[in-house]
Amino acid sequence: MGKRAEVPTVNAGSMADIAFLLLIFFLVTTTIETDAGLARMLPSTAKSPPVTIKHKNLLEVVINKDNELLVEGEEMPLHELRKTAIAFIDNAGEKDSCNYCKGEGLAESSDNPNAAVISVKNTRETTYEAYIAVQNELVAAYNELRNREGQRRFKQDYTAMEKAYTSSETDAETKQELKTKIKLLQDLYPLHIVEPKN
């Protein structure tokens, strides 16, 4: 029998270096994508008859070119906007039309959440960040009210339900159930933010 040659083992010592090289390449090229934001529907261009909104059902928010906030004609710091918006939406001037509202029922504020409209007006010089900050606060106001109602009716936050609904781990049956709940909460406090043309 001839001598069988031993197969030489490949030296794996440099494996770590190669792996490091690849690792550093991927580390450098990775960009964590930002894929979250404020979702909004633009109004359709289809001609609809102009609606007249009673003055008391309208909360007027103006952002001027210096990014200052005017709410109903009065200057207001941004951190008070959420409170003001909640008080306005949840006011329930007509007690009968909103039995779940906990507002003060002022005559000069909105009748019910369904009638309440928030108008956001900005100039062309307003910066985008100020606009986003205001939009964020208004969405926060709605979410806070929906959360409250969600806790009262279903012992669950609206935002938590929404998160569960979009999560891929939730099964179809739960999703269906969540969908009806979410829809109900959205109907209780419908998002009415309009942007008049200037």
Binding site: A12, A16, F20, T31, L38, N122, E129, T166
Partner: protein
């Protein structure tokens, strides 16, 4: 000398690095799986504002992205310092947005064409005038679902007063 005395020579044993490749490979695979290759260069300054009431954009194939911001330094001499719109790889003006959306929409599958979202990645220093123009254009082509893409953070950081 007894054979036990040898061990007291004071030298520390070297740490075994045999498992180092495994560790590095694990990291490597992690980064390989989370990496998203960029398919378009952003040629504008794109520092997004912050917000906390945000919703995640779920499906990547249903999103059309529009970038807005001041051109990067290397383009500033040609395109100026005012915020402009970037569609795919070129600078555009608001009138082109409608055509761009229609083109992108035509590229998608039929069943997705009605559920597309337009993601607006706008630099925080851009003026609202330009954004309003874009929104008007989007309305004209019936692309009503928009997402103002932001970083997650405190919205109060946006306005310093």
């Amino acid at each position: 000398m007894s054979k036990f005395a040898k061990k007291k020579s004071g030298e520390l044993p070297a740490v075994s690095t045999a498992s180092l490749p495994d560790i590095v490979f694990m990291l490597l695979f992690f980064f390989m799986t989370v990496t998203v290759m960029k398919n378009n260069d952003v040629k504008v300054k794109n520092e997004l504002p912050q917000a906390n009431e945000i919703k995640k954009l779920e499906k990547k194939d249903r999103v059309i992205t529009i970038f807005v911001g001041a051109p990067n330094d290397e383009f500033a001499s040609v395109f100026g310092k005012e915020a402009t719109i970037q569609l795919n790889d070129k600078f555009s003006n608001p009138d082109d947005v409608g055509d761009f959306i229609l083109q992108e929409r035509a590229k998608k599958d039929e069943e997705l064409q009605n559920v597309l979202t337009t993601s607006l990645k706008v630099d925080k220093n851009a003026n609202m005038g330009l954004i309003s123009d874009i929104k008007q254009e989007l309305r004209k082509v019936n692309a009503l679902k928009v997402n103002y893409t932001t970083y997650e953070g405190d919205a109060f950081n946006n306005i310093k007063n």
